[in-house]
Amino acid sequence: MNPSCDEVPPPPVTVAVTRTGGMAGLRREWRAEPPEDEASTWQSLIERCPWNERTAADAAPGADRYQWRIRARCADEPEQEAELSEDEVVGAWRELVDAVRDWVRSSTEKPSPPRGLE
């Protein structure tokens, strides 16, 4: 079941993206908690991701690739989680990841954020 966010009043949406691995082995996390008036847009982004259509993540071939963990929750729905290799972060997944990173970037740009808090 994909989460739905159509209860009243409109519930908050939370999406957390964690990136580990890469040559540097640095752990980065981005977390979006958009306001109610953006909830339907985010709900649609979340619903388009194939949460239930994938099997266990196989590592992408090679070495030093990123590993992604994406968690999304709408209101009282159970949290959904997916672990993805770098090659799998395409299409709807990539749009969701980019949206979260953009949201964090734009929300931290306003009050002159500390460096690197994307």
Binding site: T20, A24, L26, A63, Q67, R115
Partner: protein, 355 residues
């Protein structure tokens, strides 16, 4: 077909044989010769030097076969080819740094271990630069080395460090040697061996001894805004950076601090600190140029054919002890140094399963 088991001159002799009993073989040989061959020459160069007696010495040595491509900020490989072996410098810093770095790594593997390129047979060295937008990574995709430009805030590109270029090429060497599964302890060994050959390439390029070297991986990749020297330290795992935003270098230097996690393919870039430090301890005990003895032992262990794809730390440690004893003798200074190196990080080679 790059290599043929029957050399062309032999086929020609068989093909021209008039002996009736060889008619079938002659026909087969003629057909083989007539078939088109994809021929890829292995590059060789001539080295000239003057020996102690003042005589001119000419010797041939293999040469690298490099091709650099430019992804032009997209995430599609290979990108547009911008420099091949005979081409002049492009003027693009990343492309030229990658080209030069692959060359220095090729020199290291040939000079230290007589290994001719990634596959040991003079095969191509392929790299792509300018991968993605603000891409904070360099990786090996199973066929080529790929370098991002960094985001300019944390990382200022990935081709500026020879140890990183050599690290990526070394992943190819590890794959060609049979591969180490990229998860948990075997994955951490994969990472560690790539770090070891990465720092050794830099030391070889600079002519440094073990006590002169920085033992850092990725020095100079961080922007000035980051509080840190490098990505990893073999001399002191866990001390490479300590930054307000990035946090602290999470690498352990001892089995007591082994990190259990599902992130990062089971902590392959974290727990690699343990075998990294074992190598460092071995190398500084032996002294001199670290690639000459410690590096050779690690290389022999990797290419011994005895590891399988999922060795744990103790199994790899046992392979390095066997390699040291085979190369230098049981009870040798080198074998003792290897044992002491592993003991220093809490790994007992004798605990490994006998294969």
């Amino acid at each position: 077909m790059a290599h043929a088991i029957i050399p062309p001159y032999l086929l020609a002799r068989i093909a021209s044989d008039q002996e009736p009993s060889w008619a079938h073989a002659a026909e087969a040989a003629r057909a083989t010769l007539a078939a088109p061959r994809a021929y890829r020459p292995v590059r060789t160069r001539l080295r000239l030097s003057i020996d102690e007696d003042g005589s001119l010495v000419a010797e041939t040595a293999p040469a690298p076969d490099r091709t650099i491509s430019d992804a032009q900020q997209r995430e599609q490989l290979p990108g547009v080819r911008v420099r091949s072996e005979e081409d002049p410098a492009t003027g693009d810093t990343a492309a030229d740094e990658a080209f030069d770095g692959l060359g220095a790594t090729f020199e290291f593997f040939w000079d230290a271990f007589a290994r001719n390129a990634i596959d040991g047979a003079g095969g191509q060295l392929l790299a792509t630069v300018h991968y993605g937008q603000d891409y904070d990574n360099a990786f090996w995709n199973g066929e080529r080395m790929v370098f991002g430009d960094g985001d300019g805030e944390v990382f200022a590109g990935f081709t500026g460090s020879l140890s990183v270029i050599a690290h990526e090429l070394s992943h190819g060497v590890i794959d060609a040697a049979g591969g180490l599964a990229y998860r948990n302890q075997s994955g951490a060994l994969n990472e560690s061996i790539a770090d070891v050959f990465g720092v050794l390439t830099e030391q070889h390029h600079l002519g440094q001894t073990a006590d002169e070297a920085t033992w850092l991986v990725g020095e100079g990749l961080f922007t000035d805004a980051v509080q840190g020297d490098a990505l990893r330290s073999l001399a002191a795992p866990g001390t490479a950076y300590d930054d307000d935003v990035l946090g602290r270098d999470p690498q352990p230097a001892h089995m007591d601090d082994f990190v259990v996690t599902t992130d990062d393919n089971g902590g392959v870039h974290i727990n690699s600190g343990i075998p990294n430090h074992a190598f460092y301890l071995t190398a500084v005990t032996l002294g001199g140029k670290a690639w000459e003895r410690a590096g050779l032992i690690w290389y022999r262990a990797l290419t011994s054919g005895e590891l399988g794809t999922t060795p744990d730390f103790a199994e790899f440690a046992a392979a390095t002890v066997r390699a040291a004893e085979a190369e230098y003798g049981e009870g040798s200074e080198e074998a003792d140094a290897v044992r002491a190196g592993w003991a220093g990080v809490g790994v007992d080679p004798d605990e490994s399963v006998v294969r």
